[in-house]
Symmetry: C2
Subunit: 135 residues, 2 copies
DNA sequence: GTATCTGCAAAACATTTGCAATTCT
DNA sequence: AGAATTGCAAATGTTTTGCAGATAC
C-alpha cells in the first residue's frame, strides 16, 4: 500500500518503529483531520484491530508527541485532542456542532479566515523558557 | 474592609450572591494573579476557612465562569487554571519554573512583550459559532 | 419557612502505572 | 533468546453528582 509505506517511512525518519498499531493510529490522525480524542481513535480502530487497548493508544500518542510528529490540542478542559499537523495554525471550536476547524496564522500577527464565524472566546498560549530561567 | 466591599459589589453587579466563600475565592483569584488551580485555591484558603470543601471551590469557580467573571486557562492538559482577568491577553508558561506570565495581545495581531523569552510552542484557540451553525 | 449554599461521601472519568504476555528480529 | 511492544487490571487524580445539613433572607 503506497500511503502506508509513506507513513511507515515518515515514522522511521522520526525514530519511531512503525508497528502495526502505530501505523494505524498515525494513519488515522493523518487521514481524519478532526483532532480526535483518545477515545475516538480507540473506538474507530477497535473494529480493524480487535485486540487494541486504550493503553496502547495512550502510549502511542505520548510517543508521537515526544517525537514531535503529533501535537496536543487543549481547546477544552475536559478533553485532550491530537493533531498530526504540527505546523503553526489556529483552532476554532464551534460551541454548537463541536467541530474544530483549522485556520491560518500569519507572520504579521493573527489574520483569521473566520470572518463569517462568530467569535466568543480567544485563548493564546505560548510555552517556552522565561527570562529568569534562560540563564 | 474597602477591598472586600469592592469585590462584594462587583459580584453583586454580576448576579452572584457574595457569600463568604465566594468572596474569599474571588479575592484570592483577584489578588494572586498566578492563575491557580482548584487545588491551589483550596489549600490556600483552607487555613482561613477550615470548613471549606473542594466541592465548594469547584462549584464556585463554575459559577464564576458561567457568570463571566473568571476565565479558564487550559495551557496544560493535566491542569485547569483560573484567571479573574477576563480581558483579552495571552499566557506564557515557562517549562522550567512553571510560572505563567500574562502578555498583551494587540488589535493588529499578536505583538508580544516576550522578546527575551524562548518560545517553543504556540497555541491559538478560538471558540464561537461556525458558519454552518449560525443560521 | 423556604430558597440557596455548602460540604461530605460516592460515583464517574480520564490517564498512568505495574507487570505479564506477545511479538519481532 | 533478548529487547521492544502490547494490553490487561489496578491505581491515581480530577471533576461531578446526590443528598443532607447549615445558612440566609
Amino acid at each position: 500500500m503506497k500511503k502506508t509505506n509513506n507513513i511507515s517511512e515518515f515514522l522511521l525518519e522520526n525514530n519511531i518503529k512503525p508497528s502495526y498499531q502505530r501505523l494505524k493510529i498515525f494513519e488515522y490522525l493523518y487521514v481524519h483531520k478532526t483532532h480526535p480524542t483518545v477515545d475516538e481513535i480507540y473506538k474507530a480502530l477497535k473494529g480493524e484491530i480487535p485486540t487494541l487497548s486504550k493503553t496502547t493508544v495512550y502510549n502511542t500518542l505520548k510517543l508521537f508527541v515526544d517525537k514531535g510528529v503529533v501535537i496536543i490540542i487543549n481547546i477544552e478542559d475536559n478533553e485532550t485532542r491530537y493533531d498530526a499537523d504540527t505546523s503553526l495554525h489556529g483552532h476554532f471550536k464551534c460551541e454548537k456542532c463541536g467541530n474544530i476547524y483549522d485556520f491560518n496564522v500569519h507572520d504579521n500577527g493573527l489574520t483569521i479566515d473566520l470572518k463569517k464565524f462568530k467569535i466568543k472566546e480567544t485563548h493564546i498560549y505560548i510555552k517556552g523558557i522565561c527570562e529568569k530561567c534562560i540563564n
